[in-house]
Symmetry: C2
Subunit: 217 residues, 2 copies
């Protein structure tokens, strides 16, 4: 660890090279999918020999985990930036969509087909709950005016099983809003990004906006 701003040239170089490896990794994911990611291929593309990269990453797995972490981090930052005090859920929803469309491969690294046997390290799980927290904040602020129950059975269930809310004080209707907000938008997004709407004629954005209208009114 080095104090920021006091990096040695070598540390700077290391960080820069790690970053370049990751960039190439994303390019490779875009070209052949995450399973086709290969350290050797990245090295070759950067004009160095395979084993050189082992100075920067412990192995293929560490690189992938790093990419996943970065993806989560960027989503969390995006969501946090959109969940400023006073913002409504729709704003958060549009930020999510922009983020997802910006780089579908990044989206799928988080929300795509899970790799059998892979378990994310704990710090990644924490980023995920950071996202949930923003969601709850927004859901609570958004509907604070009208927190009448909208679906009693689900709200009762959520009121009793709110471990995921991690102590967040949102009332049951807000818990429900947050969760359904999330699943509904993910529904449109994942189908859209996976190409299940291509050739169908309509604009997925209209679906998305319709969901935003319904959740926030």
């Amino acid at each position: 660890m080095t104090v920021a701003g006091k990096e040695t040239p070598r540390e700077r170089y290391r960080a820069q090279l790690r970053a370049e490896v990751k960039e190439r990794a994303w390019e490779q994911i875009a070209a052949a999918g995450a399973p086709g990611l290969s350290l050797n291929a990245i090295a070759k593309q950067m004009g160095m020999s395979g084993p050189a990269l082992y100075r920067y990453f412990a192995g293929r797995d560490e690189l992938i985990t790093e990419l996943i972490r970065d993806a989560y981090r960027s989503l969390a930052d995006t969501v946090r930036a959109a969940a400023v005090p006073g913002a409504d859920l729709a704003r958060l929803g549009r930020a999510l969509r922009t983020w997802a469309l910006e780089d579908p491969h990044r989206y799928f690294l988080i929300y795509g087909t899970p790799v059998p046997g892979y378990h994310a390290p704990e710090d990644i799980t924490e980023i995920a709950s950071e996202i949930m927290e923003c969601l709850l904040d927004a859901a609570q602020a958004d509907g604070a005016a009208a927190d009448t129950p909208a679906d009693a059975p689900l709200e009762a269930h959520l009121a009793e099983h709110r471990r995921w809310a991690a102590g967040h004080p949102a009332p049951p209707p807000a818990l429900r809003r947050a969760l359904l907000f999330w699943t509904r938008l993910q529904g449109v997004l994942s189908l859209e990004l996976a190409g299940h709407f291509t050739g169908m004629g309509f604009d997925p954005d209209e679906l998305y906006e319709s969901e935003l209208r319904h959740l926030t009114r």
Copy 2:
């Protein structure tokens, strides 16, 4: 092509062996994900040598395509069976959920991360629209009693872009119901199956049922 019931022993054997290969393929997908699927490994597991399988499949790609086709086919059959006349959308929704939970890998082969560069052959696209048709039937039958507009902007858009409906006579509110039904359920399902709810404490089924209540009333 042979008339059913007039199969020669050899044809019967071929069909049986192809089926066994596919079974092993699913097992392998369950163990290592679709990208790790290997003809050689399947052959070895079946006690034969690698090249033997080339008598039954043109190559790895054909096997995968076949698996995808089977997955689509089984979903379409499930949906069709649930969309009997008089059935409501909720029934179709529950059938979808049962089908998905029955074999998540099968689900992800259709709705998971798309493989860059892969394009499904046309007959698979047709199965997909078969599913859409059932959906539209159910959506139309279900809400026929109250087809008042629920979201004018979206319904207007869908009324003008109904290529996907392939001539189906469903009115705009039913178009909207069908699509949102689909995306909302997929939203819960894909997050649930990818494990994004694990450790959160609540039961995804409650979310799912809440969505069903909202769409069908």
